[in-house]
Every structure is written in C-alpha cells, then in structure tokens.
Symmetry: C2
Subunit: 360 residues, 2 copies
C-alpha cells in the first residue's frame, strides 16, 4: 500500500472488522471482498412505505426528524419488511442548519426562508455548541441501535457535504441546475469559502455526535457535486470534504462519500480519505473500480429499475452484482428509492441480492 | 484517416468550406483550426433580451414559433445586439411533435397533454407528410437567412434527438431525473423502440426541411442523454442518432451533436457520424478532445459565469479558449443562456472571444 493509500484507508480499522462476528455491511465497508454483497437502499425509510406515509400524515417532516421516537420508528420500518443489512437514521442533510440560525421549511423539498446571498449573512451565522446541534438525533440513533443490535445490524449516520449544503442555502430551494449558486460561487469566492468553512465545522461536530450516539458508519452526501467542473470541485469541495473525513479518522467508523452525476470528477474524488465511494448508475462498477483501488464501491442500480418488472429487476441487479466483483461491494441504488416503487419489488431485489454468491 | 473517421466526418464537404469566403462558423464546423473561435450562444434568442420579452408579452410561445415573421424577428434580435457568428432559428425541440397528433403546451417548459404510457398510444401516432410538419419553420428560416446573407452569417437549424423527445413524451413534463421515462424504457423496451423509430423518421424529414429552407448547419439536441448508462444509451440513443446523421450526410451541412452531463458517454458518442460535438462545462476541452479526434468541439463556458463580473467572465472565457486550442473550436456555452444574464455581460463575452487570436 502506498503512503497515499494508507492515508486514504485507515491503517487500523477497529475491533477486527474482518471477524465473522462483525456485521456484513461493516466488513464490506472496511474493504472485505465478502461472500455476498450487503444491501441497503438510499431513502429506504421513505414515502414508498405505507407505514411511513401513515406517520407523515400526522406529523410534519421536522416533527418526524426532531422527535426521537418517530425518527427511530421510521428508520426501523424498512428493516421490519426487508432483510436489509444496515439501517440509515431517518433525518435530512438540512437537519443541522437551523443551529446556525437558518430557517428551513420542507415543501416537500427544502426551502430556505432567507437564501444566503450576502457576506453579511454568512458572517452573521452563529457557531453552535456541539451538543446544541441535534440532540434529538443522538437519541434517535440510540433508540434505533437498541432495537437492531440483537440482529447485529448497524446504523448509518449521515450529513450533507459543505458544497451541497451551500448549494441549497444560496439557491434557496431545489433547482435543476442551481445557476444562482454557481454564479455566487464565482462572484463571491471568498464569501463562499467562509460559508463552506462554517459548514465544515458544523458538519464535523454533527457527524461526531452521531458516532458518539452509536452510528457505525458515516455517509457524506455530496448530491450536487456533479454540477461542477474539476477546477471548481477541487477548490470548493475537495478541501472541505477532506477536512471532514480527516476529523472522523480513527473513530472506528468507515467513511462513505456519495456524489451523483459526478463520473467526470472521479479522479479528484479519489483523493478523498474515505473507505467507501457510493456511485450512481451511469457507469458500470467494473469501469469505476480502477479510479478507486482498494476502496469499497457502493451502488449502483438505477432506482427506476425498481419500477419495472421482477424479471427486469433480476436481470439488472445481476448486472450490478457481476460488475461489482473483484473488490469490496455494498449493493445499493445509484440514488434514492423512488416514491412510486412497489413494495414487492424491493422485497424481490433483496432476495436477488442475498441469493447471489460472490465466491462461486 | 481511418475508414471509421471517413464515415464520421464527411469526406467531401461542399463548396470549398476552407475558403476565406466561407463563414467563419462553417469553416470551424467543417474542421478548420480557425484564426479565432466563432461564437454563438445556445438560447441566444431568449428571455434575457428585453426585445424578446416585448414580443413574448403579446404572443404565446406557439404563436412565436408558428408565425414566421415573429420567429425570424426573434432569431435576428441577438444578432443586432452582439457580433455573433451564427444565428439559430427560434423554435423548440417539441415543434415537430404536434404533427404526430400530440398536444403540447408550454408552461413555460413543455407539458404533454396526454403523456405516452401505452403501446396503443404509440401505434396511434400518425405519420405526417414531410411538408405538413413545420411549413412555418421553413418560411422563418428563409426570412432569417435573407436578412443575414449580406453579413455572411449562417442560420443553424435544429431538432431534438429521439431519446430526448421520448423522455418528454413519456414523462409528460420536465423533471429532475425523469424516473417514469426511465422505468417505461425498461418495462416496455419494444414500445420504446417503436416510439424512437417514429421520432427518427419525423426528425429526418423535419431536419431536411430546414436544410432545404436554408439552414447551413444542423444541431441535434440530446439534452437528457446524460441520465442514462452506457448500455441504455447504446441501445436506445445511438442507433437513432446515427440514422438521423446518416440521413443528413452529403447535404452540405455540418452536423452538431449536443448532450449535457454526458461525459461518461463520450466513448459511445464518439461513434456518431457528425462533424461537431457540443459539450457542457464539466470537463475542460483539452481533456475532451482525445475522445473526438478530428472533430470540432463546441462549448463550453458554464452559463452561470455570465452572471458573474466582467473580470470573472474574461478569466473563465480565456480558460475555455486556451483549452480549445489544438483543433477546431466553436465557442459557446455549455448549456443555454440563463434568463437573468445581463446584456452587457454577453457583449463583454463577445469582445473577449473575438479578441482572442488562436494563432498567436
């Protein structure tokens, strides 16, 4: 292993991660070429589940996120239906931002009451104490973990990458191409860096809080990184993502990085110190692996495949599983579960993935 | 030149395209490493222009497209303000679709009254005669050409690629990730192919009509190709795009292919028989050129740069111009002009591009 690779993958993962007692998901995340691919799905706790919709009918999105019992319940729902290998705590990448003094609504996507468009707004953001940021989330992770520990199923914590959080804060809401953000970044690079620095500090505290509460892995969602060119990513994303992952090194949790529509950035993303790279469906895993030697790949079934027939699901899942051979692989979608996904299709996918022997 | 390259680039471009009498845009499109990069901008005839908004205030989008005098006027507006090297006819990729019997509104993006979701709907599409498809467009091209011929500025015709047209027809309206379309394509591949076949026939007639009316180049917009993985693009996009370009071979017009967010597809796109590949801002032109030897590259300034300061515009445009050296280059944006772009920024960009000597 070169010195770069040593930095990128933690030299000493904790407590014998290759033991067969260790959860399959964690073994794969730490780099083991496991006998079968562990499975979880982005947005597995979400609107395609009737039991989720039943809770959502009675509570706002913020109530669900901020009430530990509700967040834990929603996180556990998919694990009761499907034989998944990990839970992800129910929350949102925007969850820590109100602690900075920013008002955010969900409608259903995030809407920032006062989009950040001036240096003064960035300077005015408060620096919260770590324990203020999301105490409800720590409790939700504890409750979820308590219910899953007997089944040896780990809970994944997560946060948004600074560039992606800044994208929403400056644009103000979802958008196809986030032009206002992309313009701000070029007009006010110093202010953008100041914002990204504050978001990085916040994210480090926020993710450490989740690890202390029992999250066994951390995923950093850089959903909008793919909008940018190399130079922009290298200046405005790479150093902040690196700082976050470095701050989480040695804490005993594998670090997962996700970007969507970002295959043009893989050579730069490869510089990030993380164990797992989560990729979308645009390229087959066997074409991606050369960019990330000695890393675990997570992905990358097109979520729209789950709207198709069971036969198509079997075929496409096998393509992903085959392409994932030759290194550690965590099976997932390339992006989140689509709201209209039939439940029985998720069950079918789980069967297909579990039945695929990676050593035969 | 290999036989593949001969097929890909027309062996005998018409009427001495390298003559200094030939318009700069056409010389570059035919592969000449010109003394300066010709300039035009996608959506240069559009909502950032007050004179466009004045017409739009009095006419619906369809009225503007279907009234030759209005379409010509709008096409000419940016050429009166800025020293551009080509006009693009004002229209929309959805323009030929009503001829199939499909009702489309603009609100402001295209909305299909009855999204195509069944085989029966696809079978029921009518096959129009070529002259029925868009007679107004032929007239608009003629009027635009008449005004520009004295200035030796060519008019570009265009259409949507079949996969991108099918994306709208099946999804029904704009969407972030077009999941319903992606699912339909996997559930009903035969029906999707039937639709793509009909759209290809229509597109060939439609684009030939524009050439007969005086369009000097044709751009095929495959705006949503980048959503798909290699295998999907190869099956559902490549053969139809190839058929269209082959049908336009030998007609004396360079063929331009545009996809956005599609850098993962460049090795497949390289198989298309076209002279020019228009690329977005995600990778520098000098990194893209190796995928497309002997082709002209068109692009690729990030349109959000035009919202930034003149200093930033100068810097970023120079980056693009420098990266475009070493082969034929047509300067353009990586996607369309953003509605809030200041007019003086477009004027400034034109100055910067015109002042850049590619031979110094």
């Amino acid at each position: 292993m070169s010195s770069t690779e040593t930095q990128i993958r933690q030299a000493t993962p904790p407590s014998s991660p290759h033991d067969s007692d260790t959860a399959l998901f964690l073994r794969a995340a730490w780099g083991q070429d496991t006998e079968r691919a562990p499975l979880w799905l982005m947005r597995q706790a979400g609107r395609y589940l009737p039991e989720y919709l039943a809770i959502k009918a009675k509570s706002s999105f913020w109530e669900m996120v901020r009430t530990p019992e509700l967040a834990a319940e929603v996180s556990l729902q998919p694990l009761r239906r499907f034989p998944l290998d990990a839970a992800i705590i129910f929350s949102d990448i925007m969850t820590p931002l109100p602690a900075l003094g920013i008002e955010i609504a969900f409608n259903p996507g995030p809407v920032v009451a006062n989009p950040i468009r001036t240096k003064a707004q960035i300077e005015a953001l408060r620096r919260p104490e770590a324990e203020e940021i999301a105490p409800f989330l720590a409790k939700a992770i504890g409750l979820t973990r308590a219910e899953l520990s007997a089944r040896n199923i780990p809970v994944i914590g997560f946060g948004g990458a600074p560039l992606t959080l800044a994208t929403y804060l400056i644009q103000g809401s979802g958008s196809k191409e986030y032009e206002d953000f992309r313009a701000f970044l070029r007009l006010e690079p110093a202010a953008t860096h100041a914002l990204l620095g504050k978001l990085t500090e916040l994210s480090i505290d926020y993710l450490k809080l989740q690890i202390e509460a029992g999250a066994r892995a951390i995923q950093l969602f850089d959903s909008w990184a793919g909008l940018h060119d190399w130079a922009t990513y290298r200046e405005f994303a790479l150093p902040y993502n690196r700082a976050i992952f470095q701050a989480l090194a040695g804490l005993g949790v594998p670090r997962i990085y996700l970007a969507v529509g970002a295959s043009h950035l893989y050579p730069v993303i490869a510089e990030l110190p993380c164990e797992v790279v989560s990729v979308d469906w645009r390229l087959p895993l066997n074409h991606i692996r050369s960019h990330f030697p000695n890393r675990t790949l997570q992905g990358n079934l097109d979520p729209s495949v789950l709207l198709a027939s069971p036969e198509v699901i079997t075929h496409e899942a096998h393509q992903v599983l085959q392409a994932g051979l030759g290194g550690a692989h965590i099976f997932n979608l390339g992006h989140g579960v689509i709201r209209t996904t039939p439940l029985e299709h998720v069950a079918h996918l789980a069967e297909v993935v579990r039945a695929f022997d990676r050593r035969s």
